[in-house]
Symmetry: C2
Subunit: 109 residues, 2 copies
C-alpha cells in the first residue's frame, strides 16, 4: 500500500490522526459526550457499552491524536476535549444534503 504518496508533512499526519480519531462510532460518541464536559473512563465505558479495555484504547488513540487530554484524580482518569472546533465543523457537515446526482452539462450545439 501507499506507493508514491508517503510524502506526508507533520501537519498532514496530525490532520489524518485527528480525523481517524473521530471516524469511528464509539469514538465519535465519546467526543460528542465530552463536548458537555469531562468524563471518567467508567462513565464513557457505560456510554458506549463496550469493554473498558476497548474504551481505554479508543481514549489513548484520541489522546495521541491531540484530541483529548487526561487527568488522573484518585482512582479515576478524566478525559476532556482539547478541540473547540468540533461543534462548528459538525454543524457544517450536517448541513450537507446526503446524496449527489451525477452532474452532466447540457450539450451546446
Amino acid at each position: 500500500m501507499m506507493s508514491l504518496m508517503a510524502h506526508h508533512t507533520d501537519r498532514t499526519s496530525r490532520r489524518i490522526a485527528l480525523l481517524k480519531a473521530l471516524a469511528h462510532p464509539s469514538r465519535l460518541a465519546i467526543a460528542e459526550a465530552l463536548q458537555s464536559g469531562e468524563r471518567c473512563v467508567c462513565e464513557l465505558t457505560e456510554l458506549v457499552g463496550a469493554d473498558m479495555s476497548t474504551v481505554s484504547k479508543h481514549l489513548s488513540l484520541m489522546r495521541a491524536a491531540g484530541l483529548l487530554e487526561m487527568e488522573k484524580r484518585g482512582l479515576n482518569v478524566f478525559y476532556r476535549l482539547r478541540c473547540p472546533c468540533l461543534l462548528d465543523f459538525f454543524e457544517c457537515v450536517d448541513g450537507l444534503s446526503p446524496a449527489t446526482p451525477v452532474l452532466r452539462r447540457r450539450k451546446i450545439r
Copy 2:
C-alpha cells in the same frame, strides 16, 4: 465488533462517513487540492501517484460521503468539493499542540 453501540442515527452515520472520507492520506490530499477548484480524475491520479482505479474508488467513496460532487464533460469527469467548512476546521486542528502530558492534580494535604 460493535456490541451495544449499533444505535447510530442517520446524522451520526453521515458524520462518520465524512470523517472516514477525509481520514486517508490520498483522500485528504485530494480534498485539499480541490479547495482551489475542480479537477478531473487524471489530474488527481497524477497528484496522488496511485493507479487511476484506486483514485477512482477514493473519489466514489468521497462522493458517497457527500463530500464531493462530480460532473462529466466530454471524456473527463470533474470532481468538486461540496463542503465549505474544511478550511476552518483544519485551521483549528492545526492549532492544536501535538502532544499532551498526563495531567495530575497536586495532592491537597
